[in-house]
Symmetry: C3
Subunit: 354 residues, 3 copies
């Protein structure tokens, strides 16, 4: 790719030789080949440009470099958006041979559309359908009656349960599990007040499925349980990080961001564009409104209204959580002050008596 | 299945035509076929019965429907127990072809009892035994000298370490790991007070195994480490949700409920029918008594007596935890009150001086 | 192995018959064969020696046993170090047939050094290299251009992403994922103050890799995301437990201990010999100094200096965290005391008025 094409794709300003060919993006200090494109969006990286072997660099207008520092300089005004575009251009995707590997086990009645790739030792169950251009990496298990959309990517070791429905351009990361059984028993032991040897515990089976919209990502080792009767639903554009657990009967709206190690209990309803930071836990049957934000490590035990920003254990409005930490930090001084005031009241009472 | 048989299995009262054939359980609004059995246990679902295409419905006596609303109505008195029975009746289990798939790799000296199914690309190690009627789904790894009981179900991607012992009717969910190495080093670095470059760290190897009783479930992506010398033991009937970590040398009694994302450190001893809500962490070498309950997100740092209900970070008796949150919520007002009292004492002292 | 060789390996004092052959380490009560070597390092196990069928035992000088209790007694002065040595001697490692299993799928241009074992259904990608004596268990996926050092062990279901670099003697536990994509989007939604339907979310692709030093362990179901441009680095000798999530661009120094269920957000920098207890969460872009200790369940939201011991939610110096819990526990009494003082001030003011 020529540097002038990169500049155009990023919407950046190009100074220098637009004909330079680039094939890889690297930190300035790691450039080895003339075709390495340096990325120097912060002060540190800009400082490394001095000794860099790169012929071309992408910089941010926030950290400009002198004209002529390198044979070609692309300057972009929004560094993060440019990073997204640049990494998309140079991402080769996971390496695979293409086509259907001879060791893949594909049910005779499964239906693969044009351009589907299936890796070594992958398994695709009866009556499942895979959309055009979707790549299934080695060791993936796709159950029966699964529908997967077009241009998707299922990384190695992903497990897709029976009847799962997956939209277009969905990415499932390694060892994620979609459509596992819900954790549900009768009686509902977590609500019951007593649980003795006399209580017979029965399993509530999961007859429903999981449905993922378009452009969803599910992180490595994350799990989404299928619904009891209906569907556990993840809306289009929702991005889920690693080690996230989503319980049965949960509904998550479009465009949500769910960071690593979040646990969402059964039957929770989450609106659109909700942002949930790392390590959050959400109690069952709760409801989180559109565009709410939940701070890292919070334990949500109440419904959260739309647009709210909550945090803490248990979660409260964020300014209140901060206020509480501040006051907790001052407790020692308060105890001392209270002791002091009490002593002075003792003295006043003694004076009054005398 | 005829609706009169469903009514009998659920112990419910049948009004209407018992001869209607049903083959699937659905939400009233999702019924498409005459053989769809609607489930309407709450007010919402009952409201959807009006336009439903279902011929038969199961309702709760808590949310009764007028006689004749549908050609057949089954009314049950305990909705959750009925849900367990109903879902068990209609659960087809995970789809598989049955038999031993030709791509499965089974050690010549492994012993499979009658009716064992082994899916595509599964691996079963030397000297392992699998009980009658157990199903091993695709991509499962069973190590060497493993004993698995009858009528079990090992979902795809489950990893069963060498020497693991598994009872009857055990369900291991996708990508769970049973019998991984314990996390154990010498010296015990988490207790040591100093750790410098001079400290040589050695690995304590795990020579023991994991033993699961009958009717145990282990959730997707959960891990149970094997013991150093003896067995990490999980009692019969204990149900473990997704993303649970159980350390080496742990003993858990019968009938426990361990919800999602719980972490149990090494050498913890847990009694019978203990309920542990989501996200709980339990410190090493602690002991939790029979029928104790641990609230969601708690950090357990002390032994918990039998029957106790604890919660919080760190966990204390639940009423005390609630009390603490209440008082923490009032801290701002208390600081103001203390300031006010202190000012009034200033004034009193001033008056006395004058 | 003869008991005298065991004694020598442990650096322990041997009383009795050094020629006894031992082949397995067991709890005294579990000894069945004359070749079972009992381990009795604590009072409980010593008490079980009475009825044990073992001919030989390893005890700690902290819990000595009478001379002649058993035909052979090895006494060691540091029980934990001896346990590490003893378990290393008797660990057979995971069972495998050795060699390259015929069902393994190995790219023609992958390069396996001498003594490499590859298990059933494992997959090794193009241009990858595996060092001498390394064992790859069944169902492992190694991507393309991966470099794995010598004498390593990749347990079943481990996923190694393209371009990962792994040192010597590294152990990857079952279903761990090394080199998954980072969770990174533009704009940076977790920092942004508004996120509406008008915001276009773009993916920042991960072009970098993961680099693990020598003697690293990565626990079952743990995940390490690769860097955006450079490398997510884990230093030599660092041990990572199960269910740990390490985000993209993270750097961890040598000799760290990362316990179960820890979550480390993107771009965190961690020094050498840092100890992180179970369940800790660390916010993005933070820095943790050498030899710092982070207590269990803590939420780290600030940089932590070298040598510090912090804990709590949010994490503060440990003595302050303890102090806060103590004061929080006394809040009810403090409220009562404040009420009492206020009433007495009321009374004093009333007296002054009169």
């Amino acid at each position: 790719m020529q540097i002038k094409d990169v500049a155009q794709a990023l919407g950046g300003r190009l100074d220098g030789d637009g004909a330079i060919e680039v094939s890889r993006v690297v930190h300035p200090a790691k450039a080895e080949l003339p075709s390495d494109l340096a990325l120097a969006m912060n002060a540190d990286a800009v400082a490394s440009l001095a000794g860099s072997k790169a012929q071309a660099v992408v910089v941010s207008t926030d950290h400009p470099v002198p004209a002529g520092s390198l044979p070609a300089v692309i300057a972009v005004s929004d560094a993060r958006i440019a990073l997204a575009k640049l990494t998309a251009i140079f991402d080769p995707g996971p390496a695979h041979d293409g086509g259907i590997h001879p060791t893949a086990v594909i049910a005779p009645d499964a239906k693969l559309s044009e351009g589907v790739n299936v890796g070594a030792h992958a398994v695709i169950g009866a009556l499942s359908r895979v959309g055009a251009g979707t790549t299934i990496m080695p060791h993936v298990t796709v159950g029966a009656a699964v529908k997967i959309g077009a241009r998707g990517l299922l990384h190695c070791g992903a497990r897709i349960g029976d009847r799962t429905i997956i939209g277009d351009r969905v990415i499932i990361h390694p060892n994620a599990v979609i459509g596992s059984d819900g954790f549900s028993f009768a009686p509902d032991l977590m609500s019951a007040t007593t649980y003795t040897a006399n209580v017979k515990v029965s399993r509530v089976h999961s007859l429903g499925n999981v449905s993922l919209g378009d452009d969803v990502e599910v992180g490595a080792c994350s799990t989404i349980d299928r619904a009891t009767i209906e569907s556990t639903c993840i809306g289009s554009g929702t991005k889920i990080d690693n080690h996230v657990h989503i319980g049965h009967n949960v509904t998550i709206g479009d465009g949500c961001i769910v960071c690593g190690k979040v646990g969402i209990s059964g039957s929770v309803t989450i609106g659109r564009r909700v942002r949930i930071a790392g390590g959050v836990g959400i109690g069952d049957h709760l409801s989180i409104g559109d565009e709410a934000v939940i701070g890292a490590g919070s334990a949500v035990v109440t419904n959260i209204p739309a647009g709210a920003f909550v945090s803490g254990y248990p979660a409260v409005p964020h300014p209140r959580a901060i206020e509480q930490y501040v006051y907790i930090g001052r407790l020692k001084k308060m105890y001392q002050k209270l002791d002091d005031v009490a002593s002075r009241v003792d003295a006043l009472e003694q004076t009054n008596k005398e």
